[in-house]
C-alpha cells in the first residue's frame, strides 16, 4: 500500500512487525467504541457496560471462528502474543519439566524459556534447524523424553517466513501425551487455520499483524481439558463475593479491565479477514512472496536467507547485500526510496545464529494484503539500484 509521508510516497513492507494500513472498518470500530460504547465490559450492569461486554464477547466469537475453535470460551485475550506465550508456558509447566523448542524462535518464546531454565525450573532443549531455517521434524522428535511436558514452536519464522512442520510435531506430541504450544504470531489471519486439525493444544496469536487489529491485542486458545495457571489474578466481574480467583474460562485467565477498545478494533479486523477470505489473502500474499523471491534471486551480490519457495512460507523474506550492513540498506531504502522494512535481528537472535546472520542480521521485506505488485517491483528496483551502486 502506498501512502504519504509528508510529500514522499512510501511503500510499506514491514507487515511482519505490524500491518499497515488497517482496513477502514477497524478505524471506524475504534472510533465508534469511544462514542457509542465506552463502558467497562462485564463490570457494571448499565447499558454502556452491557454494550461494551457484548462487543468484547463478539470479538471472542469472531476469533473463535477464525481459528476453528469448538468454543469461544477457550479464547482468552492478552495484550499481545508475547503475553499469551508467557501465560501458556508458565501456566502449564511445573518444576522439573523438560521443554523442547526450535532454534528459530522469537525472543517471546526463547526468553521465558531461558529464564525458567536459568531458574532451574525446567530443563530446556533447543533443537537446531538448518542454515536455511528449516526444522527436520525427526530431530525434534528425537529430543522428546519421558520427562518432556511441553513443546513450543513457531508456526512460521518471523525472520525467514519458513513454515514449521506443525502437524507432524503435533502428532508426535499427542502420541506421547506432551502439550504442544504454537506461536501463530505470523500466521493467524495469513494462513487458513484450524486448531483442531492442526492438532495443537495451545495457540498464541497477535491481533495487530495479519488480523489488522490495533496493537495491545492478542490472545491464547486453550484446548478443552488443558489446565493453565493464570499469569495474573484479580477482578473479573464474576463471582465478586469470592476472594479466590475463578476456576472457569475465560475469566480464569483474564483479570483486570481488558483493552476493550483495542478488541473492538480486533473484532472488526477479524471480520474483515473472514469476509475477504483467508484463502484469498493467502493466495495474494503467496504471489507477492514469489515475485519478491524471483526478483531478489536475480540481484548480483544478494543473499537470500531461507526463502525456499513461496508455498512453504509466509510473506516474510530476509536477505543481505554483500559489503553492506543491513542497517545501512534499511536506511538507504527509507531515505532514498520511501521503502519501509525492518533490519537487524528481528528480536530473534537464535534464528539469526541458526542462519549465520548474527549479529548484524538481515534486511526483511514483509508485504501484506494491501501491497501491490507494482510496489513489489519498485522495491526490487530499489534493491537492484543499491546493489549496483555498491558494486559500481
Amino acid at each position: 500500500m502506498s501512502s504519504e509521508r509528508g510529500r514522499d510516497p512510501i511503500i510499506y513492507l514491514d507487515n511482519g512487525a505490524t500491518s499497515f494500513p488497517k482496513p477502514p472498518p477497524v478505524i471506524e470500530a475504534v472510533s465508534r467504541w469511544f462514542t457509542e460504547y465506552g463502558g467497562s465490559p462485564g463490570r457494571s450492569g448499565h447499558r454502556m457496560a452491557i454494550a461494551a461486554a457484548r462487543l468484547h464477547f463478539e470479538a471472542r466469537e469472531s476469533m473463535s471462528t477464525l481459528l476453528g475453535a469448538p468454543s469461544s470460551r477457550r479464547i482468552v485475550f492478552t495484550l499481545n502474543a508475547t503475553e499469551a506465550l508467557n501465560l501458556a508456558i508458565t501456566g502449564v509447566i511445573t518444576r522439573g519439566d523438560h521443554v523442547v523448542t526450535s532454534s528459530m524462535e522469537h525472543n517471546s518464546v526463547m526468553r521465558p524459556l531461558r529464564h525458567l531454565a536459568h531458574q532451574g525450573v525446567i530443563n530446556l532443549t533447543v533443537v537446531p534447524c538448518s542454515s536455511a531455517g528449516d526444522l527436520d521434524p525427526q530431530d525434534l522428535v528425537s529430543a522428546l523424553t519421558p520427562a518432556t511436558r511441553l513443546v513450543v514452536m513457531t508456526h512460521a519464522s518471523n525472520v525467514t517466513g519458513t513454515l514449521m512442520p506443525v502437524p507432524f510435531v503435533a502428532n508426535a506430541c499427542r502420541e506421547r501425551g506432551i502439550l504442544f504450544l504454537v506461536d501463530a504470531a505470523q500466521t493467524a489471519g495469513a494462513l487458513p487455520l484450524d486448531v483442531i486439525s492442526l492438532g495443537v493444544d495451545l495457540l498464541a496469536f497477535t491481533g495487530h499483524k495479519s488480523l489488522f487489529g490495533p496493537m495491545g491485542t492478542g490472545g491464547l486458545w486453550v484446548r478443552e481439558g488443558v489446565e493453565v495457571q493464570p499469569l495474573v489474578r484479580g477482578g473479573t466481574g464474576s463471582n465478586s463475593e469470592d476472594e479466590e480467583h475463578p476456576s472457569f474460562f475465560p475469566d480464569r485467565l483474564e483479570a483486570g479491565t481488558p483493552n476493550a477498545v483495542g478488541l473492538a478494533g480486533l473484532k472488526a479486523g477479524v471480520e474483515y479477514v473472514l469476509s475477504a477470505g483467508v484463502q484469498r489473502i493467502r493466495e495474494t500474499e503467496e504471489a507477492h512472496t514469489a515475485r519478491l523471491l524471483e526478483g531478489l534471486r536475480e540481484i548480483p551480490g544478494l543473499r537470500l536467507h531461507g526463502g525456499g519457495s513461496a508455498l512453504g512460507m509466509v510473506p516474510v523474506v530476509s536477505f543481505t547485500l554483500d559489503g553492506l550492513a543491513p542497517s545501512e540498506v534499511g536506511f538507504l531504502l527509507d531515505e532514498g526510496y520511501g521503502i519501509l522494512c525492518r533490519v537487524g535481528l528481528h528480536c530473534s537472535p537464535a534464528a539469526h545464529r541458526t542462519l549465520g546472520t548474527f549479529p548484524s542480521g538481515t534486511v526483511r521485506f514483509s508485504p501484506g494484503w494491501f501491497t501491490t505488485s507494482l510496489e513489489i517491483d519498485r522495491a526490487l528496483e530499489a534493491v537492484r539500484d543499491i546493489a549496483r551502486r555498491r558494486r559500481g
Binding site: 450492569g45 457496560a49 461486554a53
Partner: protein, 78 residues
Amino acid sequence: MCVGTFHTTYAVLKAEKLLLGIGVPVSMIPVPRRISSNCGIAIRFDCSLLETVRRAIEPVLEDLEGLYRPDGDEYRMY
C-alpha cells in the same frame, strides 16, 4: 418475568446470543440483589419460555448459576 444468572459475563452473552438466534426475546439486566450479590448482568425473559430457555442454553449450562421465577417479592429457583 424470569431471570437467568451465570458465573461469567461470557456465559450471559453466549446465552443471549443462543436465545436471540432461535427467536426468544431476551433482555439484559443487572443481576437482581435478591438473587445474588454478584455485580454482573443477567438475562430476563418471559416465564412461559422457561423450558425453551433451559434447553437453548445447554452449551453454557456449566456456567449457569440458576433460572429464577418471581415469587412475590422474592425469586424462586426453577
